[in-house]
């Protein structure tokens, strides 16, 4: 188990190093951000002075090594646009994204998996058919459209919920959270639903396919022969047997949603990191782009590591196999 972990961590470090080169070179290739940022009336000497102040007169290789050496001192740079350390900028917005994404992904999983198991358990029933029809809607209708419809329905027409933004926050462990206030929840519900729909559909389909397969297996036949109730079979045996793909997808979805909840955040003006990254790309705010993409790579590596550990916990064969 430990050698397996060590190997995974080493792999992660290599991936991060490669990512940093690709990201840096890619962002560099888009062009000099100063062409977008320096205003037209700037005279040539002002332009040159500004470019030099931000170190953009240096070569790509020099800039990269400067970035890496700063990185090892924990400094990811200063945003060109906001004049704030990139880490603080991202850190201030991360809780907002975190609570939105966790609500959406956990909600989708806890609702989607039972629905999917039911649909797999009684595939011919009317309820199962309705569940499957809804799940098709879930991943075939574009997110931005659903988001706008949600706003139009619940905020504009009915006036029940606010149209966007984040609600009141309270400080817990030094971080502002909105999930602990009523107002916070009233702001959270629509974007979280919007974000959850697609994942809900995936979870339903995964759970259904797994359940249908497992229900035909010898394990379930023996369990039934042993006289276990259907509820016990479903919750104790089927759920465990179908959980590996679900955990895998959960991890991937969690990571990708954390990094790229852009569409939902933009439509609902949610002050999360997704909007930050899109705007920094539009403005060629290079330090934010680079830092964000590298942090995202780190996020994927970490979550995948956790997923791997999750496998070992769920599947005793994996655990033993690695331990010996």
């Amino acid at each position: 188990m430990s050698s397996f972990l060590l190997q995974r961590i080493l792999q992660g470090i290599v991936i991060m190093a490669v990512m940093s080169v690709i990201v840096f070179a890619g962002v560099y290739a888009i062009g000099n951000p100063m062409e977008v940022l320096i205003p037209p009336e700037a005279t040539q000497d002002v332009r040159l002075r500004t470019i030099a102040r931000f170190g953009l007169d240096k070569s790509l290789v020099e800039q990269y090594f400067l970035f890496i050496s700063n990185l090892f001192q924990g400094d990811l740079g200063q945003s060109y646009i906001y004049n704030e350390p990139v880490l603080r900028l991202i850190g201030n917005r991360l809780p907002a994204t975190l609570e939105l994404v966790l609500t959406a992904v956990l909600g989708a999983t806890f609702i989607g998996v039972p629905l999917g198991i039911y649909a797999g358990y009684k595939p011919e029933s009317a309820t199962a058919r309705i569940i499957m029809a809804v799940s098709i809607l879930g991943f075939s209708v574009p997110t931005f459209w659903v988001g706008l419809i949600l706003i139009l329905t619940f905020a504009v027409s009915l006036g029940w919920l606010p149209s966007g933004g984040r609600g009141d926050t309270v400080e817990v462990f030094g971080i502002d959270w909105s999930i602990f206030t009523l107002d916070g929840w009233s702001h959270l519900i629509l974007p979280a639903t919007n974000l959850a729909l697609f994942k809900l559909a995936i979870m339903i389909r995964l759970a259904r396919a797994g359940t249908r397969e497992v229900m035909l297996s010898d394990a379930v036949k023996f369990a039934r022969a042993a006289g276990l109730s259907e509820a016990t079979i479903l919750s104790r045996h089927v759920l465990k047997l179908i959980s590996i793909p679900i955990v895998t997808v959960f991890g991937l979805e969690l990571a990708s949603t954390l990094a790229f909840a852009v569409v939902t955040e933009t439509i609902f003006s949610w002050p999360g990191v997704g909007k930050l990254i899109i705007d920094s790309i539009k403005n060629l705010d290079r330090p934010v782009m680079v830092a964000y993409l590298i942090l995202t790579a780190g996020l994927f590596v970490t979550i995948n590591l956790c997923v791997d550990i999750g496998y070992a916990v769920l599947d005793p064969r994996l655990r033993r196999g690695r331990a010996e």
Binding site: L37, E84, L89, V172, T181
Partner: protein, 527 residues
């Protein structure tokens, strides 16, 4: 649990307070927010729009961008390179201290230390030295004659020398201003809170020199998505929004609760034709290289101008939110000429001119434009492509993001390209000096002339204009330069854009400003 209960109680109190203050509270949904509370960090439009609530510029501009007294009540050149500014007396900062010449000197000298990449040094680039004569008089010495100095100062925000003195290096400024410690201005509102991309919360300053604002509390919410901003207005979450898109504007006409306010913007869409002998994105229709750059032929340039149907462009493409343009500035701006003929649409004559110039079958061009910078830019680009194709110039339309467009344009990799240009200062030296003068570091002009347009007459007029301290003489010089530039048709102006605000009919009346700022002080409560 206790914590939850507290939070709920707190939320309840807050919402009760919000209802009570509702009539005096104004919530504005804006497309873009500020970048910093330091008014000297960035020269970007949304930045100036936001910080103008807290800080006053030295020279004020009215709704049509013409100069008006602000913190400075009068100004005049005393010799070739000195301007005298008289300051308003009795103006108070938010902390109660008096506004004096010392604060102006401090603000000007602070800029090079703290500015970001969108540099505010452009506002003080001509200033050599600031001399304090007395508390309310300044002599500003310039590098050579600087006829347009007062125009440079319309976005020169004045901070309190006392409050900001410890926060005037690149490292400390963001911390000092964003925390509010140094964000002490003379403007109509006091700073309460802000974070990047979050809400800017402001409170009325009762001792404002123009008199107190009609709103006790102002919240500016940054909602970048057009549809979401409109939804927030319709849902009653905000009272006013800026930049209503042309499609939404039509739909809003039928909404009984919402009023729209339309104003001319400073932005003109200009087509630019590369004047180099060898240009990369023009070729014969079979893909072979042409013997020479056809864009250097005056007949070809006229044909391109005649091929553009500006009426259709305004009525169909922009849904009526624009006016046909015949020059690079809207009318009424300092230096725009009334003698330039109205644009004509004549595709037959365009074809004839092309044939006369030796291109009876036309040629092929790649047209590049931005598609995410100004309302309708991408659509105008596509319409241009069709109009050019109709007269025989096969056009490949590339409407792309400004992020890619501007760096490539700066490398001069385009031949025919279009983007908007806003005359933010309201006068011609800003626009013609950057675009129409040939690139010249010596006189510091032509920085955005990416087509190597060169007309000695125009260069001379602009250089004279920049030094001419008499306003009427200067106006005449700029008007002539504008006429000559437009006659050459290397720059072809297409439309002046308009900008739309929308607000709650029962609550607000908005007066559009040409620089598209949404200033809460000037938003009046509806009667």
């Amino acid at each position: 649990m206790n914590r939850h209960a507290k939070a709920f109680a707190f939320a309840a109190v807050l919402s009760a307070a919000a209802t009570a203050a509702g009539a005096q509270e104004l919530t504005v949904g804006v497309r873009g927010g500020p970048e910093s509370m330091d008014p000297h960090y960035s020269a970007l439009g949304p930045q100036a729009d936001a910080v103008k609530h807290i800080f006053d510029p030295l020279v004020w501009t009215g709704d049509d961008l013409q100069l008006e007294p602000g913190l400075a009540v009068s100004w005049k050149p005393v010799d070739d390179d000195t301007w005298e500014f008289k300051l308003r007396e009795g103006v108070k900062f938010h902390d109660g201290s008096d506004f004096t010449a010392e604060d102006v000197k401090f603000s000007i000298e602070r800029i090079p230390q703290v500015t970001g990449p969108t540099t505010t040094e452009i506002y003080v680039r001509r200033v050599a030295d600031v001399e304090i004569v007395d508390d309310y008089t300044l002599n500003i010495h310039t590098n050579g004659p600087a006829a347009t100095l007062p125009y440079d100062f319309v976005r020169l925000f004045i901070v309190s020398a006392d409050a900001a003195k410890d926060y005037s290096t690149a490292e400390t400024s963001a911390e000092g201003f964003n925390s509010g410690k140094a964000a002490i201005g003379t403007g109509p509102f006091k700073y309460v809170s802000w974070e990047p991309k979050g809400d800017l919360v402001l409170e009325r300053f009762d001792d404002y020199w123009r008199g107190p604002a009609p709103w006790a509390r102002v919240v500016r919410k940054e909602i970048s998505d057009d549809a979401s901003r409109l939804a927030a207005l319709k849902a009653g979450d905000v009272d006013v929004i800026n930049y209503v898109s042309s499609a939404d504007y039509l739909a809003l006409d039928n909404d009984p609760d919402i009023e729209t306010f339309i104003g001319d913007s400073v932005y003109v869409m200009n087509l630019q034709l590369d004047q180099r002998e060898d240009t990369p994105k023009v070729r014969a229709k079979d893909g072979s290289k042409l013997a020479e750059n056809p864009l250097r032929d005056a007949r070809v340039r006229e044909a391109i101008d005649l091929a553009i149907d500006r009426e259709t462009m305004v009525e169909i493409v922009l849904e009526g939110l624009g006016t046909p343009a015949n020059q690079m500035m809207p009318e009424g701006f300092f230096g725009s000429s009334e003698d330039i003929p109205a644009p004509v649409y004549d595709p037959e004559k365009a074809k004839a001119l092309l044939a006369e110039a030796g291109y009876p079958d036309g040629f092929e061009i790649d047209l590049y434009c931005t598609n995410d910078r100004l309302p309708g830019d991408g659509a105008i680009c596509e319409a241009l492509g069709q109009m050019f194709s109709q007269v025989g110039i096969a056009t490949n339309v590339n409407a792309i993001s400004k992020t890619v467009y501007f760096p490539t344009q700066a490398r001069k990799e385009y031949s025919v390209f279009m983007n908007g240009w806003g005359t933010l200062t309201g006068e011609a030296s800003y626009t013609l000096g950057s675009l129409a003068h040939s690139p010249d570091d010596e006189v510091k002009m032509g920085a955005f002339n990416r087509i190597e347009y060169h007309n000695e007459e125009v260069d001379r007029l602009l250089e004279e204009g920049a030094q001419e301290l008499d306003a009427d003489m200067r106006r005449a010089l700029f008007e002539e330069a504008m006429e000559k530039t437009m006659a050459d048709r290397a720059y072809i102006s297409i439309v002046v854009l308009q900008s739309v605000w929308a607000g709650d009919k029962d609550k607000v009346v908005v007066t559009p400003r040409a620089d598209e700022e949404t200033l809460a002080y000037f938003i009046k409560p509806a009667k």
